[in-house]
């Protein structure tokens, strides 16, 4: 068990989120969820909304941390708090403007825009096909395109023999997806 004396640094926390280490995610909840929960429930939200806001906040933190120009200028706690506050205010504003039947929906903050998923018909089909290409393929594609890992890192994390192997495997997966897709629409 971790002791208090070992202070967990922000970069360790970020790395823990990146690798979805369960103990680190639990630590993140213990450490940062209380203030978000308090904020949301004292601003006309309920527990479920607090949980959703917090989860969105972590997703934003994670995805921002993958951007090459990302620098954590404040502590993770401060960052999360400001992201979650913006997300929650945005949600309240939009709810309010819907109730008031206002035409002009307020502009979204950057954090909220990041989370919008507009899914095309083809993407919808592709997501179904994703379930058919096997876990190894899925992991390679997620690590490459979502987590923005280098081939060498992917090889290490997935215990594969090397970056060249990762690359050829990925191309194989892509071709397989294409083939499945062509079969499906024809």
């Amino acid at each position: 068990m971790r002791k208090v004396s070992e202070k967990i640094s922000d970069s360790e926390i970020l790395e823990g989120i990146k690798t979805s280490r369960n103990d680190m995610l639990e630590y993140v909840y213990q450490q940062f969820y209380p203030m978000i929960y308090k904020y949301v429930i004292t601003n006309s939200g309920n527990a479920e909304e607090a949980r959703d806001t917090f989860q969105d906040g972590i997703v934003v933190l994670y995805e921002k941390s993958l951007q090459p120009d990302f620098r954590l200028t404040a502590s993770i706690g401060t960052f999360l708090y400001s992201v979650c506050r913006n997300l929650w205010r945005n949600k309240l504003n939009r709810q309010k403007s819907r109730e008031d039947l206002q035409e002009n929906i307020p502009e979204q903050p950057e954090e909220a825009n990041l989370l919008i998923e507009e899914i095309t018909e083809r993407q919808h089909l592709l997501r179904q096909l994703f379930q058919k290409i096997g876990e190894s393929c899925r992991n390679i594609l997620m690590k490459k395109y979502y987590e923005k890992r280098k081939d060498k890192e992917i090889a290490e994390e997935l215990n594969l023999s090397g970056s060249d192997y990762v690359k050829t495997q990925r191309y194989r997966c892509l071709k397989q997806l294409k083939k499945l897709y062509d079969e499906m629409i024809n």
């Binding site: 208090v4 995610l25 995805e63 395109y145 979502y146 071709k175």
Partner: protein, 278 residues
């Protein structure tokens, strides 16, 4: 159209923004003249987007697991705290509103008591106790939330430790009854718990369990290594005063006043003066 690995690589690097200006211009030129190739690029863009969606969902699933394990616990704790604060504010409000009434009544009662000689020395111990009791500050439990069991409490499980933390929070808020109950359930009389037993004793003293308080404070006093020995001695004297065992109190206070450098030396001397000569 079947793409070569080189083509795939080019498209991938194009979509990830990794191509040089020259390569990019060439690829965009090819898209213009070869619609099938352009389709492949657009298909690849969708795959990348879908991979991102999958990745995000994957992360959310992990977060959900942590949430299920932690969120309810944290929420319950905060709700309880907020309730306790509300309650505290409410009682305070009532007290504030009525203080003039109570003060007048008390003054009248004291006057009547003094006049008819009803107030006898039997209430003296309690009076002195009330004047001198101050809760000892929390010096053992770090106040940050959500940290794991510190080394000096390694004999507790995380769950037990959380309860001890909660007991200490009650103690600090002056909810001595709740504090003493939690301490009683989770802090047994053993060496590793010496520091906590001290707070357990004070909580008991404040919630009408003077006998248990005396036993626990005595345990600290007899434990040569305990960091709160001298403090326990003072609170023991207060316990005797509260139950009006003036002679025991005097004896303990005398010991304190005769110990050089005792943190409660001056206070003890003062109280001895107040309870008067035998």
């Amino acid at each position: 159209m079947d793409l070569s690995d080189q083509d795939i690589e080019q498209i991938e690097r194009y979509l990830l923004g990794e191509l040089t200006d020259e390569e990019r211009t060439a690829l965009e030129q090819r898209m213009k003249t070869d619609p099938e190739f352009a389709d492949e690029v657009s298909f690849m863009r969708d795959i990348i987007n879908v991979s991102k969606q999958e990745g995000r969902q994957h992360l959310r699933e992990h977060l959900k697991k942590a949430e299920q394990k932690e969120a309810a616990k944290i929420e319950a704790e905060i709700n309880q705290e907020t309730e306790a604060e509300k309650k505290w504010n409410k009682t305070n409000f009532i007290n504030r509103r009525n203080w003039i009434y109570w003060a007048t009544a008390a003054a009248a009662a004291i006057f009547v008591g003094l006049y008819f000689g009803i107030i006898t020395p039997s209430g003296l111990g309690k009076k002195i106790y009330n004047e001198h009791f101050e809760p000892y500050p929390n010096k053992v439990i770090p106040s940050t939330r959500g940290i794991e069991v510190p080394e000096n409490f390694a004999h507790f499980s995380q769950e037990e430790y959380n309860l001890v933390v909660r007991a200490m929070k009650h103690y600090q808020r002056g909810n001595y009854k709740e504090a003493s109950e939690l301490f009683e359930q989770h802090v047994n009389r053993k060496k590793e718990n010496a520091a906590l037993i001290f707070y357990k004793g004070i909580s008991q003293l404040k919630s009408g369990k003077e006998k248990q308080a005396e036993e626990n404070l005595r345990y600290i006093l007899n434990n040569k290594e305990s960091e709160f020995r001298q403090e326990a001695q003072w609170y023991m004297a207060l316990t005797y005063l509260k139950v009006n065992e003036i002679e025991s109190a005097r004896e303990t206070l005398k010991k304190i006043s005769e110990t050089t450098g005792h943190p409660y030396k001056n206070k003890a001397e003062k109280v001895i003066g107040e309870i008067g000569k035998k």
